[in-house]
């Protein structure tokens, strides 16, 4: 049963994007030591170039569908799409970080070289989860992402809230990892293998033998709880608001997409790929979690006055919508029509543009010396009309208003849930969206309907500006031209080879 004992020649070409990112991370570390004067902007350029190169390498690998390292590593279209999401989000996060580093938004300073290195390692971790074909690889990737995220949260080391957020995130994250591993252990114990495809085969055999063992249900439950922490599903969300509020703003932006993507990619690999035969058991759990999560996040967000904390809660709400997409899995026997993972992937991509965008506008204000309170947005529309319009676009997209990308994302999720006969889930999504409108509308109303009290924000932030324009373009256009994106996302079906 231990295939690793035979000698194999791994096909390293399949790992090209991962190797590029790994090389980049090591290079950034080396530069810090060897050429200290390149710290700062040159490092950021290098990071962006590296991500872009990995993105190109990823796009060249569409429709590869091969495995290597004895099936532990899968280069398929699911991993391609995960790479696209995280690399895009990575480029955007770096773009909004550059000016923030040199602004005086944080007391003291933030160590620049480690910052880019950690983001790069975190991206590598998420890409590894996306390409995982084995329980161990999933865990490896998840931990790589999380450890970097803990550290980045505490990066504003002279601000106690940042340290507090990091500590909470770290401790609860450790628990989550332990629970996840426990679930994996039960899975291994029940099936005797760590390979995801083989687990699925074993489980099908169980299934036809009649009845599901309690040990397997325990495994499913533990995996869902462990990953529920990572994606911030209620009731495992406790760390989220503090971490979002405490982290430096660009880190909050990054944190809302990249570790979340890792968590969802792990859910897809573990639940959809490996535990598909148990889908009747886990889809209902995920569906209930989805409803609780979307309502809790959006309703608690209403009461927040700190914009970062508000976006933290709203990010919990969005986790709910994504879970709803996952819960729609297995609706039709013909997987080619199954929109569940498709809509989940599209949602994550859409979320990268609009949510990093919203945080970017907060960063924009902080770079100009403003705070992160709702009150700091007062009268922004009369002082900086373009910033207000841009923020409005992101917020309306988060609300799910057409023709912005957030609407398309929600639309595909609703399509998937209704197809799975989960009408109540679809209705819950729209009701939660209506509640979330209240959250975002309050900020828009503050920007447009109240008088400015602080001096007009001034300053120059070219990189942030470039990032904002990219994200506005993405928010407006990705939805309208979502046909090809959806086509690519639908390829997950071939990637995951689920035996039914």
């Amino acid at each position: 049963m231990l295939p690793g004992l035979e000698t194999v020649n791994p096909d390293l070409a399949l790992l090209t994007p991962h190797l590029i990112i790994l090389g980049l991370a090591l290079l950034l570390l080396a530069i810090d030591v060897i050429v200290p004067r390149w710290r700062g902007a040159p490092m950021a350029y290098l990071t962006i170039i590296g991500y872009a190169a990995a993105l190109v390498a990823t796009l060249l690998m569409i429709d590869t569908n091969e495995t290597t390292f004895n099936g532990m590593f899968r280069a398929d279209d699911f991993s391609v799409f995960v790479n696209i999401i995280v690399l895009t989000a990575g480029i955007l996060s770096v773009l909004i970080s550059i000016n923030y580093m040199t602004s005086r938004a944080e007391p003291g300073s933030m160590p620049v070289p480690e910052y880019y290195t950690l983001i790069t390692f975190s991206i590598l971790g998420t890409m590894i989860v996306g390409a995982a074909g084995d329980l161990l690889i999933v865990f490896l990737g998840i931990e790589m992402t999380s450890l970097a995220a803990y550290t980045l949260t505490g990066f504003a080391r002279h601000r106690t809230t940042s340290l507090e957020g990091a500590l909470k995130y770290f401790l609860l994250g450790l628990f989550a990892s332990a629970i996840l591993v426990y679930g994996m252990a039960w899975t291994y114990g029940a099936t005797g293998t760590t390979n995801l495809t083989e687990i699925a085969t074993e489980l099908t055999a169980f299934d036809t033998a009649g009845g599901v063992e309690a040990s397997l249900l325990l495994a499913v439950l533990l995996v869902i709880i462990g990953l529920g922490f990572k994606v911030a599903a209620v009731p495992f969300h406790m760390w989220t608001p503090d971490a979002y509020q405490g982290a430096p703003t660009p880190v909050s932006a990054y944190m809302s997409v990249i570790p979340k993507t890792a968590g969802f990619a792990a859910m897809v690999r573990l639940l959809v790929q490996a535990m598909a035969p148990l889908r009747d058991e886990w889809t209902i759990i995920i569906a209930v979690l989805a409803v609780v999560t979307m309502f809790f996040g959006n309703i608690v967000a209403i009461a927040q006055t700190d914009v970062k904390r508000m976006l933290g809660y709203s990010s919990i709400g969005h986790t709910g919508y994504m879970l709803a997409a996952l819960a729609a899995f297995g609706a039709s026997s013909d997987l080619n029509d199954d929109l569940s993972v498709t809509s989940l992937l599209f949602y994550l991509l859409a979320y990268a543009f609009m949510n990093i965008g919203a945080f970017a506008v907060v960063t924009w204000l902080q770079d100009r010396g403003r705070g992160v309170d709702v009150e700091d947005f007062r009268g922004l529309a009369s002082q900086s009309p373009y910033a207000a319009v841009i923020m409005t676009i992101f917020l309306l997209s988060l609300t799910g208003l057409p023709p912005l990308v957030g609407f398309y994302a929600k639309y595909y999720v609703i399509l998937a849930t209704v197809d799975a006969d989960l009408i109540w889930l679809a209705v819950a999504i729209v009701l939660a969206s209506a509640a979330s409108a209240f959250v975002y509308l309050r900020l828009i109303a503050t920007m447009y309907f109240s008088q400015a009290e602080q001096p007009a924000p001034e300053g120059s932030t070219p990189f942030l500006g470039a990032g904002l324009i990219t994200m506005v373009a993405g928010t407006v256009l990705v939805g309208v031209f979502s046909g090809q994106v959806i086509d690519l996302a639908q390829e997950w079906v071939e990637a995951l080879t689920v035996p039914f």
Binding site: L401, P403, Y411, V418, I423, A445, F449, G483, I486
Partner: protein, 527 residues
């Protein structure tokens, strides 16, 4: 002209104006006004051209445009126009143009104001042209933001509350509609058809009764909120009272019509069986709305709120006519919508005129306007009479037909509805009497006329403001009569009211074939 995408041109002409203004941040207020007027005129002329070359005898959609958009999920860019949407689009472009011209009282952030107005116009036109449910939904939601901004930025005291309430109410309704759209989309696929969201293709399918019931409800709530039907109307008075004059004009003139249009276009054609089953209940709701709106209008101290509640009452006739499910009823509903667009739009402009002068809308603050503003009083009077349904003016034609239709289908509904018309005369004429004829606050009683009671409790003091108006010896401000812009915006609406009232035939001719097509599933015969 056959190959020109005329419908898209009409839709995006205002958007073009909005984009020009958006990317020229340093443009001054006068130029931005000219750009907005230019875009408004362009859209209006194009829509007239569309109306002129419209073929009234063709039953299907005309000037159709089709572009593949998201073929995998059956979403296409489908535009088309038929009798009912043609009429409503011309109403929209007309009222939007009137609105842009009449926006002289806006003093701050005028460029942004015109951008919002033009965006709103694009959204409104697109709703009427869209033949694809997805596209329809996009335009439907697109209107929300500029309308909420118009209320929230340029409205009066309690505007933020009103804007948020308007937004949330409408969003809630339309989100439910989204679920309905998705449900009917999958049902169509499950019945073995190709994925599509085209209204005409979806309407050709016979759905199960259960599905029809739920889809009908999902759409109905969205449209009932927009109409608004009792008991979904509570956002309307707030929105109307707080909105700037032009916001109210467009809200009453066009946005409410979308509810009626949606009911005819979607509820009747997608779910005919459910519509037939539920019609009696909706008749009851409509009657309650008619009576309730009229009674509440009666006691309003605020002119604008009075007109707003009268809208609830009038729109009750629209739903009454629609769910009579016969030709007269539908004609009536369409004519009421058209007439309500002119009349209520005009009434809001009239209220705006005196608000400009007195900075209050309280009925008790006015009196004797007729001696100071005779032209205004005449136009106001015609609109008031049209609103209460005087024969010879547009309000009568529509309400009469709607009641005939209702009488045909449900005798009780017609009878109750006819008795209620009297209430409209009551609240409208009473308001008119107090504002236009009775003595102004402060004016001493006429020694030669003992019949006029002394006005008591004229509480609102209109002299608080920086009164630039000369006052007579009793302290009654001598407001000037209508200026040219005010006349130019109100007069066309008054004339249209008279035209529709005297000679409605061409309008009905426009809609005949379309309405007959819509009624096919109900087995009803023509007039």
């Amino acid at each position: 002209m056959d190959n020109l995408p005329i419908l898209s041109m009409i839709t995006y002409a205002p958007l073009l104006g909005a984009l020009v203004l958006f990317f020229t941040p340093r443009v001054d207020a006068a130029t931005s006004r000219q750009v907005a007027i230019g875009a408004g005129v362009l859209a209006f002329i194009l829509s007239l051209a569309m109306l002129v070359s419209f073929d009234v005898n063709e039953s299907g959609m005309q000037f159709t445009e089709h572009i593949e958009w998201l073929p995998d999920v059956g979403v296409n860019y489908d535009f088309g126009v038929d009798g009912i949407s043609a009429v409503l689009v011309v109403l929209t472009t007309l009222l939007a143009l009137v609105g842009i011209i009449a926006s002289t009282s806006i003093t701050h952030r005028r460029r942004e104001y015109y951008i919002s107005l033009l965006l709103l116009e694009t959204g409104m036109i697109g709703v009427f042209f869209a033949l694809d449910l997805f596209l329809f939904y996009i335009f439907w939601e697109l209107m929300l933001v500029p309308m909420a901004l118009l209320i929230g930025v340029w409205g009066s005291a309690n505007r933020v509350y009103a804007a948020v309430k308007f937004f949330l109410y409408t969003l809630f309704g339309s989100l439910l509609m989204l679920v309905g759209i998705v449900a009917i989309y999958w049902e169509n696929i499950n019945l073995g058809n190709a994925p599509t969201l085209n209204i005409l293709d979806l309407a050709a399918v016979q759905y199960s009764d259960t599905l029809q019931f739920w889809v009908f409800l999902a759409f109905f709530i969205a449209f009932a909120i927009k109409v608004p039907m009792w008991p979904f109307h509570t956002w309307l008075p707030d929105a109307h009272v707080e909105a700037p004059t032009i916001g109210s004009v467009l809200l009453a003139g066009v946005l409410l019509k979308m509810g009626g249009y949606g009911l005819i276009r979607f509820n009747l054609s997608l779910t005919p069986d459910a519509a037939e089953d539920l019609a009696p209940y909706i008749m009851v709701l409509s009657l309650i709305g008619i009576i309730y709106g009229a009674l509440v209008a009666l006691v309003q101290p605020d002119m604008k709120k009075l007109v707003a509640y009268s809208s609830v009452s009038h729109m009750g006739f629209v739903t009454l006519g629609i769910f009579a499910l016969n030709m007269q009823g539908l004609y009536g509903a369409m004519i009421v919508m058209l007439s309500h667009g002119f009349v209520t739009g005009g009434l809001f402009l009239c209220v705006g005129v005196v608000y400009e002068r007195a900075h209050t809308r309280l009925i008790s603050a006015f009196g004797g306007i007729v001696s100071r503003m005779p032209v205004y009083s005449v136009l106001f009077g015609v609109l008031m009479l049209a609103s209460l349904g005087l024969p010879g003016l547009s309000g009568f034609v529509g309400e009469f037909l709607a009641l005939v239709g209702a009488f045909n289908s449900y005798r009780w509904a017609g009878v109750i509805g006819m008795f209620v018309v009297i209430l409209a005369a009551w609240y409208m004429m009473w308001m008119f009497q107090r504002v236009v004829f009775e003595r102004a606050p402060g004016e001493p009683p006429d020694p030669h006329d003992n019949a006029l009671p002394a006005v008591s409790g004229a509480s609102a003091d209109v002299h608080d403001h920086d009164d630039e108006w000369p006052v007579d010896e009793h302290g009654v401000p001598q407001w000037p009569d209508l200026n040219r812009i005010e006349l130019a915006t109100i007069l066309p609406l008054v004339l249209l009211t008279i035209v529709v009232g005297v000679w409605p035939e061409p309008f009905m001719e426009l809609m005949r074939t379309t309405l007959e097509t819509i009624l096919i599933p109900f087995g009803s015969q023509g007039v």
